[in-house]
Symmetry: C2
Subunit: 479 residues, 2 copies
């Protein structure tokens, strides 16, 4: 069995080399495959099924928040991209340009959308006329292209799948409410569905989105102590509206500019799932998005009645609404266990001749490897209960890990020591000057992750320059 386990377990330990561990897991769990074009990845069935479940859960939450889905063109004329100054500066250097359609050169270059603010503005300009047309709360699920120099599966790739919400409101207040509402949808989704706790707050001006008045973020902490920006929500104020001329007649028939927001999460969330929950045996998937929640593995499957018994259990679990598979391939149980572990299946059900005779089967948790003998008669109820328990335990462990990896720094020496020796978030005061952010980044590679909503004045002075400071910032190395 040792040998067979090796077949699927030949991955680097995360303690030895976290980066290599990550690469090994995405490949061995068959989440993705590299394509011929550098930076473009292929989402294989295991990876795409994870995205489908994320989409399904998140889209239901969007619909509860009156979001309507649409689909916009994938190409943006250069002149349209250029309408908002900050936005074009942020994105023009990293877009792919289409210059020829069929056999002809195009009169104007078109870029593949890196994000679709400009397209939505162009639409809203045409369809918003009166206060009765507001708010517009549109979203699209699509892929975008950003020409990245250094890429890593799910974390940074030249093309990725995401959703982008784009809204238009009558007032600044409504836009701000929407910005925060959607950020909260994301943080609740991460906690309730992905079992990932996050830190929430506002980005500094340096880190905000190109064209935004304010950017809010959810930041998750990976197993190695690095942060991952996992979702953002932007308040544009009326900046885009002015650049694009999006006006509506208010109740007094006066022309007003709309106030806009946008918000998005991407396949990056799959990277977060891997790096928050995974271990040296591979993926550990949160039960609520796991493509296979439980796998039935027969033991001594050639013995009379075993496969039938396993099939019966599978049917029972399926009827209970669980995503279940039965592994009846001609391989040893040990090989199957290891493969199911690599793929992160939350619960495996083992069933052999002796169990069958006793009317029992064995449930094994992926996260703790704990075993539980249960009556076959109660298997659906027991597995369902266990999946809930696993979700809760995974969240509690991730939360404990996050909390254990937040340290405070009051002096610059403490700060530098923390970056070096205490992986995780560093809480430190900041004067508000971009120069300090730049210096910190240059000296330590740590960046400001967010100014948390729950502010606290842990010291009076900036950790970098010593000048008066009023903002508490979470800093950290990040993906």
């Amino acid at each position: 069995m040792a040998n067979e386990k090796k077949l699927v377990e030949e991955i680097t330990s995360m303690e030895v080399d976290f980066t290599q561990w990550y690469t090994d897991v995405v490949k061995k769990a068959e989440l993705m495959e590299y394509s011929t074009i550098k930076g473009f990845m292929i989402l294989k069935p295991n990876g795409y099924a994870l995205w489908e479940n994320i989409q399904k859960e998140l889209d239901a939450r969007f619909k509860d928040n009156d979001v309507e889905n649409v689909y916009m063109p994938m190409l943006i004329p250069e002149s349209l991209l250029q309408k908002e100054k900050d936005h074009v500066e942020g994105f023009a250097p990293e877009v792919a340009w289409v210059t020829h359609g069929g056999l002809n050169e195009l009169p104007e270059r078109l870029c593949i959308r890196p994000t679709s603010e400009t397209l939505f503005c162009d639409l809203y300009k045409n369809i918003v006329h009166s206060h009765r047309d507001l708010p517009k709360i549109y979203n699209q699920w699509c892929s975008v292209v950003r020409w990245e120099k250094t890429t890593r599966p799910f974390l940074r790739s030249s093309e990725f799948l995401w959703q982008e919400g784009h809204t238009a409101h009558a007032t600044a207040e409504e836009a701000q409410e929407e910005t925060i509402r959607m950020l909260n949808v994301y943080s609740k989704f991460c906690e309730d569905v992905l079992a990932i706790p996050v830190v929430k707050g506002q980005k500094t001006d340096k880190e905000k989105f190109a064209g935004a008045e304010a950017t809010y973020t959810i930041e998750a902490l990976m197993h190695d102590g690095k942060a991952l920006q996992s979702g953002t929500s932007h308040n544009f104020g009326d900046g885009f509206a002015k650049a694009f001329g999006i006006q509506y007649a208010d109740k007094d028939n006066k022309l007003q500019y709309v106030h806009q927001t946008s918000w998005g999460v991407s396949t990056r969330l799959i990277g977060a799932i891997i790096m928050v929950h995974g271990d040296d045996s591979g993926l550990v998937l949160p039960p609520r998005v796991a493509p296979v929640q439980t796998v039935v593995i027969p033991i001594q499957q050639k013995k009379e009645g075993v496969l039938e018994g396993a099939e019966e259990i599978k049917k029972t679990l399926k009827a209970a609404g669980l995503r279940v598979s039965l592994d009846e391939r001609d391989k040893s149980p040990g090989w199957k266990f290891a493969e199911a572990e690599m793929r992160g299946v939350p619960v495996r059900v083992e069933i052999g001749p002796r169990d069958l005779a006793e009317g029992k089967c064995v449930l094994v948790r992926r996260d703790t490897r704990e075993k539980l003998v249960v009556e076959i008669a109660n298997v659906a109820e027991e597995v369902s209960k266990l999946l809930e328990q696993i979700h809760n335990d995974m969240f509690a462990r991730a939360k404990a890990h996050l909390e254990a990896h937040i340290s405070d720094a009051f002096t610059y020496d403490e700060f530098k020591d923390a970056v070096e020796n205490k992986p995780g978030f560093i809480r430190a005061m900041w004067c508000g000057d971009e120069a300090c952010e730049l210096k910190i980044k240059e000296d330590t590679t740590a960046t400001s992750r967010c100014m948390p909503f729950e502010q606290e004045k842990i010291s009076d002075v900036c950790v970098c320059c010593g000048k008066p400071a009023h903002k508490l910032v979470y800093w950290g190395k990040a993906y």
Copy 2:
């Protein structure tokens, strides 16, 4: 009320100008909007919701057929596109070319996928090694770009949404089975979900897909008697496998080429729904994909208890699993009726003070405008039953229309007369010579739609050249 109805009913009659009627409906029903780039359309909430329901229903059927979803890069290197000779000839003239990534010119041009055979071949070449790796039955939902000269919403656009299945099998027999199985999934989906009957058969060599050994099609008949190719399934044999070198070791450890298929349907199906079922008041949506299956419209909504009663009915319908909305806007019932009709909502529920007092409400069918007074206590059951009835009746009417628009032609004069005067499919014998297809197209603009699976020898000679003929062909004008 006449005036208010006009507000939403200002569309051209289909008898006056079918093309204009179509354009009016897609705009007035708010299915789409034109974008800044010619040929690229915006799917608005009403249009996208229809596509979401098509996706959901079809994807469930795919999963029942062991299809696994993946996502492939949207770009294809020019050298990869060129690997299969017929394929590149078919698509190269109509692709969009990316020449710059960020600020740099690319070493090799990349096209935006017009279809992804070449990408799937490149993947299968890398992941298929043994007969144990087969079959591969992958599908992706995505958008593709084909630089079209003349475009029409949903029917032909430079970018469109679709799904493309790509499979690899050990034997020619298995590939052929898969090709036909998926064609049957499409035809059953059209009938059972969209209430659209189709004619099924094989394309002639002239009309087959670039690179395919054989192409099969489902052809629907629009209200104006023109055909719409609504889905295709291709058998590639081992042509692509040889061009890309996709080989596996069989049970005797001999290298063999795989046999491949691909199959797809697109947002074109929305065009089919419009043109098969619509009428002069707008859309008539098949209940199983209608984003709103039933709308509750209060009459004299300011009278006490009316809105509450309407809300109660909405809740009951929602609890029964129906997609329901309540129109409580401050507009007249007549305006709301007309709008709901334009949008094709299958059943509207009218509820006024008198109905309420009697414990009754009125159901009005969109397709026939028939009214039905039912007890509020039974409203969910009655609406559900009515939706089933509407589906069945819509299918029966479309089927009767299809059957009434098939004529036989035995001589070329009869054929030309039929194209001119009998809108619909023309059944006529064909000698198998492409020259006759070309002549027919030039003389009449009709094209061969398919060689139906159910062959019948209605004459011994080709309708065009008079030489011996063995193939019965469905001909017709087409979108």
